[in-house]
């Protein structure tokens, strides 16, 4: 049976037409709204939101869909009703004046009624018919028609008339909501589901661990596909909001913009630029691993950029956070005073998860922040259970993404469980997941931080030591030597050891260079000595040559003198006789 009506699709002749509720989430569950032109039964115990839900259906129909509506109240007077729904932002008086809504209070006092013989409820029909015709109503709410069972003694007549009424409503072509009290065994106390068989919605108000949660379930929807789960819903300042997981259209635009995490080294670990704008960031870690400090650094950085931030604190009060963060050199106070940073501190057990989420939604709508911190998200989880929490968080994250809000969640993991494990598996919804962990070694505890995942960016796979000081947050390289990593004082010791070794090396170098210098000088000296010796020898040699030549000259002169004195035939045959003589000398 394929009968899911699509509003924009070609009108399939068999398809069931639907009247949109205009209630976030509920239209998704019902595949477009309630069956148009047919009655729908909404049942639930007292105070579970039947009147509000049906009133919202009517008002939204009148305002948003252009379908005027009649509200026939059997329990509250027009004045009470007007006042009660004013708190949801519905102005019935205006709508009535504009002829968009008619509120008709029907009341019968059992004590002033006597019954004799045959009757029918034609009076009710006429009243309703008149109200419908007076404004051309397309929607009708009967809240709650079961009151008639108390007022009218003859149940047989009443049942017959109710059957006729619902058929009559169908003939009129109005989309109707009939509310009824929850019965012990059946859906309704008086078995109205017998007559209204097209669509039945069950509301519930349950208390788990002293925290109440409203839930809604479409029990039956003839001729249409519908969500069959129980969905949590809330009644807030803007009426009903149902939180179906199915409303998660993954259609949000992904930003290319990057924003700083407030810790330069962390930005460096995340591909050098920090988080993506509009992404969700999770920091998980055990107690005291520095999660809130990272959150504060992020908020501080955002505030410096002039962006508005919302900080939801579920563990500490505003002043406590401000004081604590001042101690690590992050002063958020000026930003708070400037209205850039807003704190919402509340105990998680103050109200149910739905109310918290509603508050978050409200605050976001008012402040329109760029950055939201939820510290810690695990505390919210304590107020709900399992799937419910996950679906609500999914919805919340979805809301952040659509609004392009960068969300920063901290998650407290208990010491025993694996640090990679978050309690409701929210990590799969996160884009960036940082893990802060305590590293215990050498009798001390130090903080380490690494990036477990970060979608869409290169990121460091290294662990960094994470140091909180009055100068703020610093990430330091840890020493990875051999098979251990060193942090804290072990790192300091290693550092000083390395420093000592370095200085020793330096001294050694200096010594060696001095030695070399000296050696060089010695060699230079030797060279000088040798050169001096050589020069001396050369001098000597020159001297000798000079002496020799002087001697030669002297010898020659002497010979010539002798020759002259002998009066030898020097003038003739000088050469022949002369030479052998000289050689013989």
């Amino acid at each position: 049976m394929k009968a899911k009506a699509k509003r924009n699709a070609e009108p399939v002749s068999e398809a069931l037409e639907k009247a949109a509720m205009g209630i976030p989430g509920l239209d998704e569950i019902t595949g477009g709204g309630l069956p148009k032109g047919r009655p729908t039964l909404i049942c639930g115990s007292a105070g579970c939101g039947k009147t509000v839900l049906s009133m919202e259906f009517l008002v939204r129909g009148a305002v948003e869909q252009g379908e005027p509506g009649v509200f026939m109240a059997f329990e509250e007077t027009e004045e009470d009703l007007t006042k009660n729904v004013a708190s949801l932002g519905f102005n019935l008086r205006t709508l009535t004046a504009q002829k968009k809504v008619v509120v008709d209070y029907v009341h019968i006092e059992r004590s002033e009624i006597e019954e004799t013989g045959e009757y029918d409820l034609e009076g009710l029909f006429i009243r309703l018919g008149h109200a419908i015709d007076s404004i051309g109503a397309k929607r009708v709410v009967l809240d709650t028609i079961e009151a008639l069972f108390v007022s009218l003694p003859n149940e047989a007549i009443l049942r017959a008339e109710l059957r006729r009424l619902f058929r009559w409503l169908k003939d009129k072509g109005v989309t109707a909501i009939i509310t009824a009290e929850r019965g012990q065994e059946a859906f309704t106390r008086h078995g109205l589901e017998e007559y209204v068989a097209d669509c039945v919605i069950l509301l519930d108000h349950r208390i788990n661990d002293q925290i109440s949660t409203r839930r809604l379930r479409v029990v039956k929807y003839r001729g249409s596909i519908h969500g069959t789960n129980e969905y949590p819903f809330m009644i807030g300042k803007e009426g009903v909001s149902v939180l179906p997981i199915t409303s998660l259209g993954l259609e949000h635009a992904a930003s290319e913009l990057r924003i700083s995490s407030g810790v330069p080294r962390l930005d460096a670990m995340l591909g050098g630029k920090g988080y993506y704008r509009g992404s969700s960031v999770l920091v998980s870690g055990t107690a005291g691993s520095g999660k809130s400090s990272l959150a504060a650094a992020f908020v501080d950085a955002a505030a410096r950029r002039g962006e508005r931030c919302l900080y939801f604190a579920f563990e500490e009060s505003q002043s406590q956070i401000l004081r604590n963060m001042r101690s690590i050199g992050i002063d958020l106070e000026p930003a708070v005073r400037a209205g850039l940073v807003q704190f919402h501190a509340a105990r998680p057990t103050l109200c149910g998860l739905e109310m918290h989420l509603l508050e978050i939604h409200d605050a976001i709508r008012k402040l329109k922040p760029k950055v939201v911190v939820i510290d810690p998200v695990t505390n919210l989880m304590s107020t709900g259970t399992g799937n419910e929490v996950k679906s609500m968080l999914t919805r919340l994250i979805d809301c952040f993404k659509t609004e392009q809000i960068t969300a920063f969640f901290t998650s407290l993991t208990s010491g025993e469980s694996a640090p990679e494990q978050t309690e409701v598996g929210v990590s799969s919804l996160m884009d960036t997941w940082l893990l802060a962990r305590n590293i215990e070694a050498n009798g001390e505890r130090n903080r380490g931080l690494y990036v477990l995942k970060s979608r869409g960016m290169p990121h460091s796979n290294q662990i960094r030591e994470f140091v909180l000081s009055s100068q703020g947050i610093q990430l330091l390289d840890v020493y990875v030597g051999g098979d251990t990593l060193l942090t804290g004082s072990a790192r300091l010791a290693q550092e000083s050891r390395e420093k000592a070794a370095a200085s020793q090396r330096q001294q050694e170098i200096a010594r060696r260079s001095r030695e070399l210098e000296r050696e060089g000088q010695a060699i230079e000296a030797q060279i000088a000595t040798l050169r001096a010796g050589l020069e001396a020898k050369a001098e000597q040699f020159k001297l000798e040559i000079a002496q020799d030549s002087r001697r030669q000259t002297a010898l020659l002169e002497a010979e010539m003198k002798i020759g002259r004195s002998r009066m030898a035939d020097s003038a003739m045959g000088l050469g022949g006789k002369h030479k052998p003589q000289r050689n013989g000398v």
């Binding site: 006597e114 013989g117 009757y119 009710l124 006429i126």
Partner: protein, 112 residues
């Protein structure tokens, strides 16, 4: 039963006096006609000369249903004497109508 057209409108039947009754009907149905006949008979018997009956046809005046909070048809409303009383049905049970209208003296009522 002398039934023809039901006369509707203000002061359909007035014999004067303290009893001001209003009968709400919706068109000329058998139940409405029966109720009117029964009412007239009872009034003539028990409230001779001191009652006023006003018949209102909601088909003609649908807005009037709201004033007296009329759901069931036919409904007889005792507007005077105070307090207001309502009797729904075709008024076929005279005893109950008299109890409903608080016409019978109290000792008889107790006896009944």
């Amino acid at each position: 039963m002398q039934t023809s057209e039901l006369e509707t409108g203000r002061k359909a039947i007035s014999t004067g006096g303290a009893w001001e009754l209003r009968l709400y009907v919706a068109g000329q149905t058998a139940k409405s006609l029966a109720a009117f006949a029964n009412l007239k008979r009872i009034c003539d018997e028990h409230l001779t000369g001191q009652y006023t009956i006003e018949v209102i046809d909601l088909l003609k005046n649908p807005t009037l249903a709201k004033g007296d909070q009329i759901l069931a048809i036919p409904t007889l409303v005792r507007r005077l004497p105070n307090p207001m009383r309502k009797i729904i049905g075709d008024l076929s049970n005279t005893e109950r109508v008299l109890v409903g209208l608080d016409v019978r003296p109290s000792e008889e009522l107790n006896h009944a």
